[in-house]
C-alpha cells in the first residue's frame, strides 16, 4: 500500500478543517487535508466553494495557494500504528503518516425514531438540504420541517429560496425558553425576539414552537406527517418531504479509535485544541456543537498550534471564549424535551440497518447486550444513526470503537 508523508494531516474539510489546514500551512508545514466528500467545504459550505466570492471560496482558494494537498473521497478507516492512518479512496488505498493530526470530523444530525420515520422521503433536515444543495430539485415540493435547533430555520430559508412549498417549521423547544435565550444575549430584546420568532413568519412560513412530529404515513413513500402541539392537540399535514433533525451530535469515532478521551458532548481539548493524545488536535463541531464562527476560530487555533506557532494561536483565545458562551446558551435553549422519549412505539424501528424495534432494544440492559442479542448498531452505519437516538432515549453511551470504523473493501483491509 502506498505511503504518503506529511507534517500535519487534517481530517475533515469543513470550516474547521479548512481554517486549520491554512494556518498550519502558513507556518511552513507540509499539510494534507482529507475528506470523504468529493469537494471541500463540509456540509455547511457544500457546493458553495465553487461559487465565489464568499467565505467558503476564500478558504478553499487560500488552501490551494498555500500548497495544502487536497485528498478527496478519502475515508479514514483505521490507525494501524501511531502517526499513521489507513485511508480508502474511490479506487485505491493508502497509508497517511503525520507528525501532528487535526481531527475536524464535524457532526451529524440526531434522529429520533417515531412510527414512519423510515419511509422514503422522510429525511434529516440537514439531509434534505444536503441533497438539495447537490442538485436534487425541490421546487414545488411540499416540505414539513421539524425537530429542533437553528438549522431548521436555515433549511426553511434555503428551501424557500429554491421555490419549495414549506408548509411549516415545528420546533420542539418552548417559546419561553427561546425567548429567555434571546433576552440573555440581547441588548435590544424586542428586535431579537422578532428576529427569532418571525424570521420564518416573514417568509410566510409558520414557526410553531412546542411542536413535534409523532408519526409519518405513506406506502412506498411518505405522504403525510402527524404533528403534536404541547397542549396535546394533533393534526396531519400532507407533504412530499419531511425534513426532521433533533440537533447535532459530534462525530467521535476516529478520535476514540486514536485513544483520545471523548465525552458525549465532544472531544475534550486543551486551550491549544490538543486532545488527551499528544500531537492530536481537534477543532469544530467534533469538540462540541458550536456553529460556523466557533469552528473557524478553533480551526485556526489548532492549525497554528499544530504548525508550531502557539503565540499566533493565543491571539484567538478571547474570541473563542465568547463564541463558546453563545454555543452554551444555544444548547440550553434547544434542549430536547422529555416527552420526546415517548416518540417510538414498541414496534418502531430504532436501528434502520438491522431493522431492530424499540421493544427489543429496550429489553436489553445496555449497548453490549443489545448488539449481541439484537444486532442493533451492528449494520453498515455501525450505530452512527441509532446511537444518537439510544443515547437520548435510554441513556446508553456507545462503549467501544474497533477498526475498521467504516465498512471498507476487503482489499483495503488486506493490502
Amino acid at each position: 500500500m502506498a505511503d504518503r508523508d506529511y507534517d500535519v494531516v487534517v481530517v475533515g474539510a469543513g470550516p474547521a478543517g479548512l481554517a486549520a489546514a491554512c494556518r498550519a500551512a502558513e507556518c511552513g508545514r507540509m499539510v494534507a487535508m482529507l475528506d470523504d466528500n468529493p469537494h471541500p467545504g463540509g456540509q455547511i459550505w457544500r457546493a458553495a466553494a465553487g461559487k465565489s466570492p464568499n467565505a467558503a471560496a476564500r478558504w478553499v482558494q487560500a488552501a490551494e495557494r498555500l500548497g495544502v494537498e487536497w485528498i478527496a473521497g478519502a475515508r479514514v478507516f483505521d490507525a494501524p500504528e501511531p502517526q499513521r492512518l489507513a485511508v480508502e479512496m474511490v479506487d485505491e488505498e493508502c497509508h497517511v503518516r503525520y507528525r501532528s493530526l487535526i481531527l475536524a470530523t464535524g457532526a451529524r444530525e440526531r434522529f429520533l425514531p417515531f412510527p414512519g420515520w423510515t419511509l422514503p422521503n422522510a429525511m434529516g433536515a440537514g439531509g434534505l438540504q444536503a441533497l438539495a444543495k447537490s442538485g436534487m430539485p425541490v421546487a414545488g415540493k411540499k416540505i414539513v420541517i421539524a425537530g429542533s435547533g437553528p438549522l431548521l430555520l436555515a433549511v426553511a430559508r434555503y428551501m424557500r429560496s429554491h421555490d419549495a412549498d414549506v408548509c411549516l417549521i415545528a420546533e420542539q423547544a418552548d417559546q419561553s425558553k427561546l425567548l429567555r435565550f434571546v433576552l440573555r444575549l440581547a441588548g435590544h430584546p424586542a428586535k431579537l425576539i422578532q428576529a427569532l420568532t418571525l424570521r420564518a413568519g416573514l417568509l410566510g412560513v409558520p414557526y410553531i414552537t412546542s411542536c413535534w412530529p409523532v408519526s409519518a404515513q405513506g406506502g412506498e413513500r411518505l405522504q403525510s406527517v402527524t404533528l403534536r402541539r404541547g397542549d396535546g392537540t394533533t393534526w396531519t399535514e400532507s407533504c412530499d418531504y419531511l425534513a426532521c433533525g433533533f440537533g447535532l451530535v459530534p462525530n467521535l469515532e476516529l478520535a476514540a479509535l486514536l485513544g483520545c478521551r471523548t465525552s458525549k458532548a465532544g472531544v475534550p481539548v486543551d486551550e491549544y485544541q490538543q486532545t488527551s493524545v499528544a500531537g492530536v488536535y481537534s477543532a469544530g463541531e467534533a469538540t462540541g456543537i458550536g456553529g460556523l464562527e466557533l469552528s473557524l476560530m478553533e480551526g485556526e487555533i489548532a492549525g497554528y498550534a499544530a504548525g508550531g506557532s502557539p503565540d499566533r494561536a493565543q491571539a484567538h483565545f478571547g474570541a473563542r471564549e465568547s463564541h463558546r458562551r453563545f454555543a452554551a446558551a444555544l444548547e440550553e435553549a434547544f434542549a430536547l424535551r422529555q416527552e420526546l422519549r415517548n416518540l417510538p412505539q414498541p414496534g418502531t424501528l430504532v436501528c434502520r440497518c438491522e431493522d431492530v424495534t424499540m421493544e427489543r432494544v429496550r429489553a436489553c440492559a445496555g449497548w453490549r447486550e443489545a448488539k449481541l442479542h439484537t444486532r442493533c448498531g451492528m449494520g453498515p452505519c455501525q450505530g452512527r444513526i441509532c446511537g444518537g437516538a439510544v443515547e437520548f432515549l435510554l441513556g446508553w453511551q456507545s462503549e467501544s470503537v474497533r477498526p475498521p470504523i467504516l465498512p471498507v473493501r476487503v482489499r483495503s483491509m488486506t493490502e
Binding site: 419511509l119 439531509g127 434534505l128 438540504q129 447537490s134 442538485g135 431493522d355 452505519c381
Partner: protein
C-alpha cells in the same frame, strides 16, 4: 465544456447539471426507493452526508455505493432497489 451530463437510472436516460450528485438523477427519474431493508421495507436517503448508508445503490456494477457522495458522470449506470 457541456453544462449537463446524461446517465441512466434503472435503464432510463436522465440528464442533470454538471456536478450534480447521484440522488439528483434518482429524484428526476421519479424513484424514491433506493433499496430494501433487511426486512423488506422501502428505504431512501436519510442523512445526505455519507453516514447512514440508506442511499446505497449499484453504480456501474459496484454494489453498496453511497449515492449521496457520488458525482454524476456521463454514461454512469445507476440501479436502485439492489
Amino acid at each position: 465544456m457541456p453544462d449537463s451530463v446524461t446517465l441512466s437510472v434503472n435503464g432510463t436516460a436522465i440528464t442533470v447539471p454538471v456536478g450534480a450528485m447521484v440522488p439528483t438523477a434518482v429524484a428526476i427519474a421519479g424513484v424514491s426507493q433506493y433499496r430494501r431493508s433487511v426486512s423488506g421495507e422501502p428505504r431512501g436517503p436519510l442523512c445526505g452526508m455519507g453516514i447512514c448508508f440508506e442511499c446505497r445503490v449499484i453504480i456501474d456494477g459496484r454494489a453498496h455505493c453511497r449515492s449521496c457522495q457520488v458525482v454524476c458522470q456521463p454514461g454512469m449506470e445507476v440501479l436502485t432497489d439492489g
